[in-house]
């Protein structure tokens, strides 16, 4: 009996140390063969009790900018109960069970309500906008409560609003329900409609540094040593757009100057295209061909290098181009008329929390590779100390420092980009025969 109690104590201490959720405690307890009473005694500990103090409304009512109402903790609980679910549109690779479970547990822990997170993933976020426009055009409720996709799509919606004289995005920031938005560097915010949840996402060049030692800037993609060894992203979306912007900058040009853009496209068509083994829109193909050594360089996102590295390919490296990188971060924005606005705001706040920005791989039950997909740089000063020990030594090989973020990562005038990108892609695609 005494041994049993010691075992339970040990289990409880471990669970506390690893910040287990209540659900994880139950699951682990059952797995260890503990009795219901023993599991209940662990759950009764303060560390696993419902923690309403984590709610933004713990100290008093907070403003919900959607309804314009001051909401107390009880009001929020009632609203969550009424909503019951929330639908978020994001990318395929982050739409994981771990994230869903973690958020649902968070709501359960803080508000004592079981909710459902419908977390959708796609590799073509533009489809979300088509669905949003179709719903708005038909006067229907938007299909997503929240979109968490690249900033250029946010700009696209804003441009659509202006062109059509309609309101598509809700003015949700600042919000009393999203206090974590205050922790974010100002250059990662687009108040009142959007806030970033990534700091260093950037289309770029991932390469095999065993075979390639001559890459320094975007224009080196034309080096003949890459002939047949370059996998390029198919022009037509922001991944290819980032490459074009990078090439123009590397040539000393300005993407707002049509002549410079034309020269950048000419360079990509005449100088880089002959090196391309294939154009793809498939991440897994990029990963496979780079890992198997079929190609030496891939134009994709910066995350690919760390994914490959954590997947065992130690020669995978990301080129921070000498002329700089264009940041294309993920932003969260809420369509106007969303069916579940309170839960959407709670999700936004949670996504900017320590737990979701720097997940504990043991608590979340994810691999290091999954972690590398969730994490995308420092959103603000208050996150800097959260880098976990297991990656501390190599973290800055794959992620920029806050200083690099401000010096080497350039921002894009998205309104200008959205207005012109389609014509750029057309010219580029026609040039390569597509």
């Amino acid at each position: 009996m005494k041994i049993d109690q010691r075992f339970i104590e040990h289990f409880a201490a471990t669970a506390e140390k690893r910040r287990y959720t209540r659900r994880q405690v139950v699951r682990a307890g059952v797995g260890l063969g503990l009795s219901a009473a023993a599991i209940g005694s662990v759950l009764a500990r303060p560390a696993f009790a419902q923690d309403s103090s984590a709610s933004p409304a713990a100290a008093g009512p907070v403003l919900d900018p959607i309804s314009g109402a001051e909401m107390s903790y009880d009001d929020i609980v009632a609203a969550i109960q009424a909503e019951g679910e929330v639908t978020v549109g994001n990318w395929t690779y982050t739409a994981t069970d771990a994230l869903i479970e973690r958020f649902e547990q968070y709501v359960s822990d803080v508000y004592g309500v079981d909710v459902t997170l419908n977390y959708l993933g796609t590799q073509q976020p533009s489809t979300y906008l088509t669905e949003l426009y179709a719903a708005a055009g038909a006067g229907n409720t938007p299909p997503h409560d929240l979109l968490a996709i690249e900033e250029n799509y946010w700009a696209e919606v804003r441009a659509q609003e202006e062109a059509e004289g309609v309101t598509l995005l809700a003015d949700v920031l600042p919000s009393g329900l999203i206090p974590n938005a205050d922790r974010v560097f100002e250059n990662f915010t687009q108040f009142p409609t959007a806030v970033g949840f990534q700091a260093s996402a950037s289309p770029g060049i991932t390469y095999n540094n065993d075979n390639v030692d001559f890459l320094n800037d975007w224009t080196d993609l034309a080096d003949e040593r890459l002939k047949g060894k370059l996998l390029a992203w198919l022009p037509g979306d922001i991944t290819g757009g980032g490459v074009l912007l990078g090439v123009i900058a590397a040539q000393g040009g300005d993407y707002k100057n049509p002549d410079d853009v034309a020269e950048g496209i000419r360079f990509l068509v005449e100088e880089v295209h002959p090196n391309v083994l294939k154009y793809t829109t498939d991440t897994s193909e990029a990963q496979q061909l780079l890992k198997d050594g079929v190609v030496d360089a891939v134009t994709f996102w910066n995350s690919l290098a760390r994914l490959q590295y954590l997947d065992g390919q130690e020669n995978a490296a990301f080129l921070v181009a000498a002329s700089g990188q264009y940041a294309v971060n993920g932003y969260m924005f809420m369509p106007v008329g969303a069916a579940h606005p309170i839960l959407a705001q709670i999700f936004m706040d949670w996504r900017l929390s320590d737990d979701a920005q720097f997940p504990d791989i043991e608590v979340w039950g994810i691999t290091e590779g999954n972690w590398a997909e969730f994490q995308e740089g420092f959103m603000g000063e208050s996150y800097v100390d959260l880098v976990p020990d297991w990656i501390k030594d190599v973290y800055f090989n794959f992620f920029p420092t806050p200083e690099q973020l401000s010096t080497q990562y350039k921002s894009v005038d998205w309104a200008y980009y959205v207005e012109n990108a389609s014509a750029w892609y057309d010219e580029w695609l026609a040039g390569i025969g597509l």
Partner: protein, 300 residues
Amino acid sequence: MAEVVVDTPVPPRSTVGDESRDWRKALTGVGLLAPAIVIAIIFSIIPLIYLINVSLTRESTFFFNNPQYTFDNYRLIWNRYLPHVWTTIRLATLASLFCLIFGYPFAYILVRKVQYRDLVRILMTFPLFGPLYLTYGIRFVFGVNGPLAPLFDFIGVDSRTLLFAYPEQMTIFGMAVFTFPFMVMNVVAALTNVDPTLEEAARTLGSRPWQVFTRVLFPLSWPGVLAGFLICFGWNLGVFIVPMLLGNIEQQRVLSLALYQKAMSQFDYGLGSAMGVVLMLLAFTVTWLSLRFSRGALAT
């Protein structure tokens, strides 16, 4: 005595019951057709009109605020995307022919020789689970470090570059595998109706096997062949994931892929819709031509 012929008046035949029966017949016919007509209008005719309407607008959105009607999208397809149309037709035709060449013997064996044909039919429908799974499967099988890699290396084909060395063949193969069941099922249906004694009679009269095939079997199974070819062609006109994943520039130059990019990535719904209309016209044209040249074979 003169015979008196009494012209017995025949009471006028009431037509009330006939008219009622006719109405009932007519109403029954309309009533039976009504669900199909309603479904066709809602899910086919209205979307089609909508598609054509959007295709005639420039840079339109779903909001349709002040749409500008123009033929520019069609002009653009003519001036810029004609190679895409030809590539689409070429790949769809070759893949459908591939299906026919391999599907016909397969169907024949299935009908005449195979004992467990129902089981084979069930297995054969696996590709219908979807071109996406199928394409990834093909890429895995023929890809770097795939299960066939040792075999290819053994026969001197570099398995690391196989997919990139033969993109046209791989794309056609991928498209054909997906539509193969359509061809086989149609040819099987046609061959099942061909009396085997006709083949025996032809052989008895001295026909060689190829003569039996060209003079008896193929003409009699022509409706099934045509139906199978049309279905394969129609499917292959619209498939884009296969050329995207297995093809290179030459194969990626298909209208369906351009449509997806224009409409879904760049939000040019007008041009995307125009491409959709062109694809549909292609399918209609081929169907119409085939019916015309087959002299209504499908109706027989």
